[in-house]
Symmetry: C2
Subunit: 438 residues, 2 copies
Amino acid sequence: MTETKLITPKKLKGFWELMPKEQLLFSSILDKIEEVFKKNCFLPLDTPVLEYSEVLLAKSGGSVDKEIYRFTKGDTDMCMRYDLTVPLARFVSMHKDELDFPFKRFQIGKVYRGERPQKGRFREFYQCDADIIGDGDLSIVADAECISLFEKCFKALKLEIEIHVSNRKFLAGFIDFIQMKDKTSEILIILDKLDKISEEDAIQELMELGIGYNECATLIRFTKTKGSFKEVFKALKLYCGNETSNAGLYELQELEKYLDDFGCENVIVDMGVIRGHNYYTGTVFEGFLKGNEGGAVGGGGRYENLCGYFSEKNMPGVGMSVGVTRLFDILMQNGHFEKEKTNEIDIAVINFDNTLDDSLRIVNDFRERGIKAECFYENKSFKSKMKEANRRQVKYILVVGEDEVKTRRFNLKNMETGEQTAMDLQEVVETISNSHEN
Amino acid sequence: MTETKLITPKKLKGFWELMPKEQLLFSSILDKIEEVFKKNCFLPLDTPVLEYSEVLLAKSGGSVDKEIYRFTKGDTDMCMRYDLTVPLARFVSMHKDELDFPFKRFQIGKVYRGERPQKGRFREFYQCDADIIGDGDLSIVADAECISLFEKCFKALKLEIEIHVSNRKFLAGFIDFIQMKDKTSEILIILDKLDKISEEDAIQELMELGIGYNECATLIRFTKTKGSFKEVFKALKLYCGNETSNAGLYELQELEKYLDDFGCENVIVDMGVIRGHNYYTGTVFEGFLKGNEGGAVGGGGRYENLCGYFSEKNMPGVGMSVGVTRLFDILMQNGHFEKEKTNEIDIAVINFDNTLDDSLRIVNDFRERGIKAECFYENKSFKSKMKEANRRQVKYILVVGEDEVKTRRFNLKNMETGEQTAMDLQEVVETISNSHEN
């Protein structure tokens, strides 16, 4: 080994990796979200990380292409997935005759985007997606169910959230009304940038598309409309008339009713929510952590046809996605986890004399009873084992020597209070189990 | 959309993907294994799927290279991981001053090998790994802990397993004794193939390396030695004398004692267990499902220096890995899950008249109480909703019409027994919760 040239160990730039204690916290977030998905009757899916390029790029616009990890092996041209939606479309198209519709699936997995690394953006990150896919039709109830599910995820994480919903049809109808229908996606892209560029610049860009100044001003006014369902309906009713716009407002009204049925409480209407993706056609929404200035921590919406590139069958869908890597990043920076105890080890068994075998048996017995017990079995001094227990913030210590083994009475030390109590092993188990419950 | 050229939706060849009901079963296997790892004080790690090629290929031999998914993006030469051990070595080398040693980590994740697809082999598959890494030294207790952990994983899955252990030092010592030390890895590769090639062919290959016929026969006799610890010690004691061989036998004896401390019951010694990987240096083991003819469903062993390619620090380790994709594949083929109920939906709320809002509220209330409730909210006939409930094997059905909403008395139908009972919602919750417990 000593002759081998050493290679500097390093992780790829822009790739995310947590230390084990942080990973414990992150995993528990994923677990809680998964629990919510399951309770709401969504079924798990776990598609491969790689797909045929032809399949994965079927629907993506030019701007996504540059970011994609694409390569060939043998004759096969493949890509790493950049989201979980295209793989879902591929899966549903392949298995449409075997699935029950509406098909409710969730997937928690990593996706890959070779963007320039920057704060809060990673090249590999987790998405927690849940979607409902209809066969031909899909009730607006599904839109409400997805938004409510999104809210429930954050409730399970004990995080306060505000959800901003809109409906793309309202703006699309107005764009149709001013006879700019073929420029719809360009217009939406400009309006979507209004949190980054000034109103003047946006109007400038819109006018370059051939829209008159007054219509530009109206478009921008629409995107600034924000408030309770009631307030927004009142503000927008005047502008309606066009069939598509009316459908947008009608869907919003239906949505409000069903959100109420699902007990959804933290929703406002915000016509400025557009969502970048081209494929959204109706309801769109984004979630923001209360008291946090940063951008959305997830969102979703309705798309008219999930599988249009793969199948002639019409399959509308609605989905939600929690940007859980970004969320965790924000929470870490906010010091959210500072008071959280990760509880790696419940009890350390520290032995001296010739009691290693007995100590291992005790540890094994504790573990079988669901207690995270550890034995520092390396050949170190009693003192250095105590130090290690301290450093690793172990809550309880059990000292095992030959006398203890003989009498079956052990000293349990609570490291937080300093208290020491002599007891038998059954009492140790009870003490620790009780401390779990508190 | 109709003008778009349709693309055939297909999954990459050799990549694994389960239908949602199978995925439920597979996920529950991963969850149970993770639970065992956590209970035994292993910490989670989740390294990126991609690594620098320089890092990932630092230790791999030529035969692995062909299988690796390697590509460049911009100036970066990278690979998809083919196991979870090299990323662990990279991580430990980078963070050696921040970690507590022995460092016990687990990782459950997908790995990638572009092999020719064949039965039971996949290009993307899960590994469930747990390793213990020492700083300078590592007690043989750690070897026993890993083997015991491996057994506990299968216990948690209610699968009977037999673990075959060996120690590479025994053979290595004999190879040294016959002065073939520089050919050790070639010899081990030949002996490792003895389940695939005949003894005559093996002797032929060994003799081509320059080993005499008698020594070849002895080598093969060693690999056939199999039985309880006691039987094997008796059979092998005569051959010892060489220091390395003696160390191998001594370590096996120590291992037996600690395995006993950890309550490990299903272990035999099998000197034929060699494990392909070059890096194992002491204890090696493999697990076999009882009553199943197929190969090993996992294994592991001791390596003298995990991080030799990245660091001058000596870090011995021992690990175990459950080949959980392969295991699941075997279990599916054995019909292991036929009796398993996946229980997608506990109760379907089927409404008629104008009761959709009430039904959604009821469903939402059930879900909040931990019951998987579903409402078929699509605009379909009562009859077709009943059919759907039947097809999806829903256990209970609650019928909701205007009378039921008014009187707050509902008919709960048990679809297994056909029994119908009128009750209020609180009683419904109790009935279903009780059926969970049974």
